[in-house]
Symmetry: C2
């Protein structure tokens, strides 16, 4: 028997409607429908959706929810790819989108203080007005929120130089089940007093509490940026090229790769891409720094790449930089020309295993009669694996899921992880024990119980 309620009672509904007046409490199916899904194919209807305007309402909500054993699903922009925000066991969805103010950008402290519902690119724009830089840039940066980014420990293109969201969070204010307010860290850039609860919260996927305020570290805005797209005759020489670049002493802000099948898809979609027709693999670099520093890095990087005979090299800065990135941005629409449905996974492996991972992923796809595109963040060994299939053909759906399963096993076998960025949520929940040991899972469960003894926070998900 579930420990959770089976539905909302009228007393529950009254409580929620009182606490969240007017449109801030949604109880109708048509009103709740937009809150039932994220960017995965998962979907489940909540029993209620509430939209707090501030922390105090969340405190009262979580006091009530803890007593009532009510499942709570925190949600921001719903851009997650693994169903993590989907209210799979029923319960209350808490949308933090009304808490969407950048509270402060302080150039002297070099921090920003923000509510969770702010779109990350808007936070970045606000920082840029002070010539300050918040580097993490998940692909969703223009549509996802900083609260969601912190909850998932979002990665992105520039992690190779700047690290992931975890590396930029200095402090958090959160509300825990029972309505307890937890403040960790602060505006100090260094702090070693106590266990690191701040970073424990980063990437905890809404399973410990609701984040109500975030303090991030900022750095001066780099003066210049330049991008370079290099084509290679095959995957191996592209990876050799990347090795040569890192060995030459250059640390690019981004180092992306695209495999043959990805390039073919982009070409067939008719994009005008600045890449030789003979290229069967490509690397895409972005360099950031001073004007002179970036120019020097371009020279070093070009020299390093030339040692492995690229078939083309195109560089772009300013408006031209966008053109260089068109190939990368063209992948997603192009993929859907192959098949109407994709399973988009994001395994990560040690950098030396990228070639093996890509080749075996292709072979796994081939064995199941499916096309598999591999591209992504080579600098981190983070490979986006798109398994293309037709969601209306049951045999293809089955084959795609088998392929996915095998690709996860492959990632773990190569010393990697089943997720570098997306998390596990619903879609990968059953694969988590393939990667984590029983001891890790036991410790995580025990830590979670310290924060959420009645397991009301985002239940039913993988880690």
């Amino acid at each position: 028997m579930s420990k959770y309620p089976k539905q909302l009672t009228s007393a529950h509904k009254r409580f929620l409607a009182d606490l969240f007046p007017g449109e801030d409490c949604i109880l109708t199916p048509e009103g709740m429908a937009p809150f039932s899904a994220d960017a995965s194919l998962e979907r489940a209807m909540p029993w209620a959706v509430v939209r707090p305007k501030g922390r105090e309402q969340i405190e009262e909500l979580l006091r009530w929810a803890d007593t009532e054993r009510m499942p709570i699903y925190t949600r921001a922009r719903g851009t997650g790819r693994v169903g993590n925000a989907v209210p799979s066991l029923g319960g209350v969805v808490v949308s933090v989108l009304k808490m969407d103010s950048v509270l402060e950008v302080d150039p002297v402290d070099s921090v920003a203080v923000t509510q969770p519902g702010v779109i990350t690119s808007e936070l970045q724009a606000e920082c840029a007005r002070h010539n300050l830089y918040y580097p993490p840039d998940p692909a969703s940066v223009k549509i996802s929120s900083i609260g969601g980014n912190v909850s998932t420990c979002a990665g992105g293109l520039k992690a190779v130089k700047y690290g992931v969201t975890r590396d930029w969070v200095l402090g958090l204010e959160s509300v825990l089940p029972g309505g307890r307010v937890l403040r960790t860290g602060g505006r100090s850039h260094k702090d070693v007093v106590g266990l690191d609860l701040t970073r424990l919260f980063v990437g905890s996927n809404g399973k410990l509490g609701i984040i109500t305020e975030v303090i991030v570290k900022l750095i001066p805005m780099p003066e210049a940026s330049i991008s370079l797209l290099a084509g290679f005759s095959n995957l191996h020489s592209s990876l050799e090229g990347a090795r040569a670049v890192f060995q030459s002493g250059v640390l690019p802000a981004a180092c992306e790769f695209m495999d043959r099948i990805t390039l073919q898809a982009v070409r067939e979609a008719g994009g005008d891409i600045p890449l030789a027709a003979s290229a069967e693999a490509a690397l895409l670099f972005k360099l950031e720094g001073t004007e002179e520093g970036v120019a020097a890095e371009v020279r070093q990087l070009s020299a390093a790449l030339k040692s492995v005979n690229p078939v083309s090299m195109e560089m772009g800065r300013g408006a031209e930089e966008e053109r260089i990135w068109s190939v990368r941005r063209g992948i997603s629409p192009a993929a859907f020309r192959i098949k109407p449905t994709k399973i988009a996974e994001d395994i990560s492996v040690p950098r030396s295993q990228v070639a093996t991972a890509v080749e075996r992923a292709h072979a796994i796809g081939g064995n199941h009669g499916l096309t598999v595109l591999c591209f992504g963040h080579l600098g981190d060994g983070n490979i986006h694996v798109n398994i293309m299939h037709d969601g209306d053909i049951p045999s293809e759906v089955e084959a795609a899921h088998k392929a996915k399963n095998e690709i996860f096993r492959l990632a773990v076998d190569l010393g990697g992880t089943i997720s570098g960025e997306h998390g596990t949520g619903l879609t990968k929940a059953s694969f988590v024990p393939k990667q984590l040991t029983a001891l890790e899972m036991e410790l995580m469960a025990s830590i979670k119980a310290s924060f959420d003894p009645h397991a009301i926070m985002n239940p039913g998900k993988g880690w």
Copy 2:
């Protein structure tokens, strides 16, 4: 009544001597004395010292220790400043110095795998042979170990650009009480599966388990480095200078400051320092990158500093760079010319509060008739506060401790932390509740209990 044994029984001693043959088990007072203290003034004799050669011995030790409720104090080079490695309740000191191999430096994966007893600068040298860089550099880098650095989340000079130890640890192997082996993270640069146990271990000060292997992330070695020492007529204009530098878009690898009293001490010690005699505050910058990039940053930085009229600016690269840093290295010996004893604290505050913190720290010293030197990592707001006094004069010792107490209160009042680098150990244990909330401490205790249910790991210390 303590839950711990009061001493070792002969059965205990036999067990330890069997598990750690010959010189690897030390039971004599003269043999154990060197393991009784760290770089603080704290001291306590252990009941035994053991020196494992590998993980298997540690597994067996912690199975036994958990059953026997035996306090376990992990120790590496003993360079800590807060008594964290001191066996204050008696028990067994575990020295990891025989586990001192760099197991692997992998240029393709861009990681190093190391045992905990390796001296950090030796790890860095090993990486440098592959043109790779492990950036964290605590002041103790030439004498402290990577295991100790991970345990304390060591900071250092270059944190302003590169972050602290936490930001570089990708994976850990540890042994928990009961002999359970915990492996977290790995060689993937990105991993978001599960709660972040790896970073929870970083900075946990030996209170969760014994770290037996560390995987760190590496980046390409910067090509060039240049340092610049600027003198200012007063503290405020030096801080204005630092603001101007960050505002100009330069992110230095290091940004140190020294106050008037510190400079006076260094000058009186007769050092030939490249700084105008009229300077009453100084900033010390280090820039790292490509040759051209560093040259451009020096130009930007100099221009920014000139806007606040420094009284001197000296630059150094190569062999000359050492000369620039002589002033910084001269502080510690110079301080002891003022008084024979120091309390060296390391508060951290939001960067905007540094001037206030320094001025108030001086005033606090003055009120107690003591000289207080302030210097340190301005870029992080991390201020080393040295309270000079004579340890043989009880009234001065008392005054110094009162001043320390007031300085901790000051740090917390300014939104900062009582420790940016050193941790709390024994010397700051009683101050921890001034900074952490009851909820934070409750959560930390509960998390610790998940790893160490019988509280055998480093008992008797602050967080």
